[in-house]
Amino acid sequence: MVSKKTKKSTETVSSRLALVMKSGKTTLGLKSTLKSLRQGKTKLVVLANNCPPLVRSQIEYYCLLAKCNVHHFQGNNIELGTACGKYFRCACLGILDPGDSDILKVVEETA
């Protein structure tokens, strides 16, 4: 049921994540993402689709207050961890500095 357009945009987000990991600054994990949100440092938050609903609502609310974008990644936490190039699962990821990547603009367009 995933339309072609969304699939394409997901791929672009995944590919850009790799670049962000290399050139930019990120925080992985709920606790550190919340911390950076409170400090106003995050530019974008990426959530896996199997993120527990309470955590999802909490992050979305924090992002609302911090005027930060949330991207719902089309994959579960295992896939998000892989997209980050890590060997562990990651359900919640905060991008502080996109580096050379234009991931922020891509998310703005699709939002």
């Binding site: 911390k35 409170r38 400090q39 106003g40 909490q58 207050l65 005027k67 930060c68």
Partner: protein
């Protein structure tokens, strides 16, 4: 991208004795201090909410039910949930709560009495209804 934990922000306490209570940030320390190397803030909140008042009640009864009991506490950012509401008492509260209230227990107790007075006055004006209503959970 915006820092939202500022004095005047209404916040819900998540842990401890005052869990579930609404509070206002009086002063926040984003980078922490020597004794507390984590982000924390001084919070003035409602310990005992004022009870519901109806038109039928006598004045004496209304007065008894409109009591607000406040608390003053230093709390880690992890243990509060910020809301979209603000309470513009921050300036008044800051004047009343001195710097030593963070560390000194007696000055905190004194400040708490003044805070209680301030909050009660605000409740009686009828503004910020949401703040003075108990959070049901």
């Amino acid at each position: 991208m915006v820092k939202f934990l500022k004095p005047g922000k209404v916040v819900v306490v998540l842990q401890g004795k005052y869990a579930g209570r609404k509070a206002v940030i009086v002063q926040n320390y984003d980078s922490g201090t020597q004794e507390r190397p984590y982000g924390h803030c001084v919070i003035a909140g409602i310990d005992k909410y004022p009870r519901k008042v109806t038109r039928k009640m006598s004045e004496k009864k209304v007065k008894r039910r409109s009591k607000v009991r406040a608390f003053l506490r230093v709390v880690n950012y992890n243990h509060i949930m910020p809301t979209r509401y603000t309470l513009d008492l921050a300036d008044a509260l800051k004047k009343v709560v001195p710097e030593e209230a963070r560390t000194n227990l007696t000055s905190r107790k004194k400040a708490q009495k003044k805070v209680q007075q301030l909050l009660k006055e605000r409740y009686l004006t009828g503004k910020n209804r949401w703040f003075f209503r108990k959070l049901r959970f």
